[in-house]
């Protein structure tokens, strides 16, 4: 059971690290802030699954990273 509460600033710092880590990955269609188990976390949206050799850590500096394949985003 997770007890550590992540502040918004911590989540934003982790988000910057994730952006650096995934820069150049053509599959990324959004990196933002969400909540996992009630505390702030990083959300990575993918247009399609990452290639097998690209790994995203489940946590960065104690901040959880949630990955979702959302597909193509289109203007509505």
């Amino acid at each position: 059971m997770r007890v550590t509460q992540i502040t918004l600033d911590q989540a934003r710092a982790a988000k910057r690290r994730v952006i650096e880590l995934l820069s150049g990955s053509g599959q990324v269609v959004g990196i933002g802030i969400t909540r996992v188990d009630g505390t702030y976390a990083v959300k990575v949206n993918l247009g399609e699954a990452l290639p097998g050799d690209v790994r995203v850590p489940a946590e960065i500096d104690g901040v959880r990273v949630r990955i979702e394949v959302v597909g193509t985003i289109r203007r509505r």
């Binding site: 934003r12 988000k15 952006i19 990324v28 269609v29 959004g30 990196i31 933002g32 802030i33 969400t34 909540r35 702030y40 959300k43 949206n45 247009g47 979702e68 394949v69 959302v70 597909g71 193509t72 985003i73 289109r74 203007r75 509505r76």
Partner: protein, 385 residues
């Protein structure tokens, strides 16, 4: 069922249902053809069925997604009817249910959504504006059921103008009227650039029609505003908003605060722009041209590097808000662009502009929106309410 029965049923359904829909769905849809479509589809409103994005008619595909039918293997040596649904709105429709009934329940129904060619996209063309050619309407299936289902209010002409109604640049299919704002002492309509400015292609003074052209709007009968200004879309750098203003024509009535049937079919009153930070988990509402009033939940914020597909190519947006539909509905669909998103206090928080067909906890897609304070700042506008 036996293979022969499955083949015969498939052929019959193609002739009776699928072909008439495909034929009737040629654009531009008029109010009359929308009614005909409704008869063919068994009451699915054309606006829901054809939740096409607010986009230039010039680039609109001539054939719209609906259903595919085929044969699937059943148990043992039996066969079943395979129904592949390409639009969320059709999944639980009377039409699909009647197909399942005709197959006596021996049907395999799956939502497959959009099927893309697996090749690289051609670079987008940037051509001058030409009006979409009128196409002849095909006859409707003789056995089509007659239905009394009415066109929803947000797809019809509304005077006074209301938040949430169909609107658009005359060369654009249809989007949504987001809100009324004050800009340089004038009352303006707020929506997306791709709704009011046709992705940077509009000239100042171009006609804005309500309802939008896709819903039968014409300059002669439905012009309500003129394109004024837009935040230009940046094809190389990071965008923050997809937003534009149109000056309201004099004498056009408008209700700046009414949020018709926004929550639990009850009207709300716009409470201005929210001053609070957007946070995950917040309950939100919107009224849009295609899906009407829907309830959603913020799933992420401060989203950077959001890559969105436009006529002009893939554009990048930073600092965006992500929303999913609450319950068994998507928060938005094509045509809802420009919708104003409000919180539980009916204070405006964001301007809807993009979405996906899949994703979110209900699997029905995610919606993306620009924070409203940024939209208003960049357009030097104040929200009226």
């Amino acid at each position: 069922m036996r293979l022969e029965s499955a083949i015969n049923l498939k052929r019959q359904l193609l002739e009776d249902l699928i072909t008439p829909i495909a034929a009737a769905a040629r654009f531009p849809i008029t109010a009359a053809s929308a009614r005909d479509l409704r008869e063919v589809t068994g009451g699915v409103p054309a606006g829901t069925l054809f939740g096409v994005a607010a986009r230039s008619f010039q680039t609109l595909p001539k054939v719209q997604r609906s259903l595919a039918v085929g044969i699937a293997r059943g148990k043992d040596k039996e066969y079943r009817l395979a129904i592949r649904v390409q639009r969320q709105a059709l999944l639980n429709s009377d039409m699909v249910q009647s197909m399942v009934k005709k197959a006596k329940g021996e049907a395999d129904v799956r939502l497959i959504g959009r099927v893309d060619k697996r090749t690289r996209r051609r670079p987008p063309r940037r051509a001058g504006i030409t009006r979409a050619k009128k196409t002849r309407r095909a006859p409707v299936a003789s056995r089509a059921r007659t239905l009394a289902a009415g066109v929803p209010w947000f797809e019809l002409q509304q005077r006074p103008l209301l938040i949430g109604v169909s609107i658009g640049h005359v060369d654009v299919t249809a989007g949504t009227l987001g809100a009324f704002v004050s800009h340089d002492g004038q009352v303006c309509i707020l929506s997306n650039n791709h709704v009011l400015a046709n992705e940077d292609r509009a000239a100042v003074g171009d006609a804005i029609v309500q309802p939008g052209t896709l819903d039968g709007g014409s300059i002669a009968a439905d012009k309500v505003a003129e394109f004024l200004t837009a935040v230009a879309l940046d094809a190389t750098g990071a965008n923050l908003v997809d937003a534009a203003l149109a000056t309201l024509d004099s004498g056009i009535g408008h209700d700046t605060a009414r949020l018709r049937e926004i929550a639990a079919s009850t009207d709300g009153v716009l409470a201005g722009a929210s001053g609070a930070e957007i946070d995950e988990g917040a309950t939100v509402f919107k009224i849009g041209r295609t899906t009407g009033a829907t309830k959603g939940r913020v799933t992420a914020f401060n989203l950077d590097n959001v890559i969105v597909n436009y006529d002009m190519g893939n554009l990048r947006f930073d600092d965006q808000v992500e929303i999913e539909g609450v319950g068994d509905v998507a928060f938005s669909d094509g045509g809802d662009s420009g919708s104003l998103i409000v919180n539980e206090e009916m204070a405006a928080i964001a301007l809807l502009f993009a979405g996906t067909d899949f994703g979110g906890s209900n699997g029905l897609g995610l919606t993306y929106a620009n924070p409203l304070h940024r939209v208003l700042d960049d357009l030097n506008a104040t929200l009226l309410f």
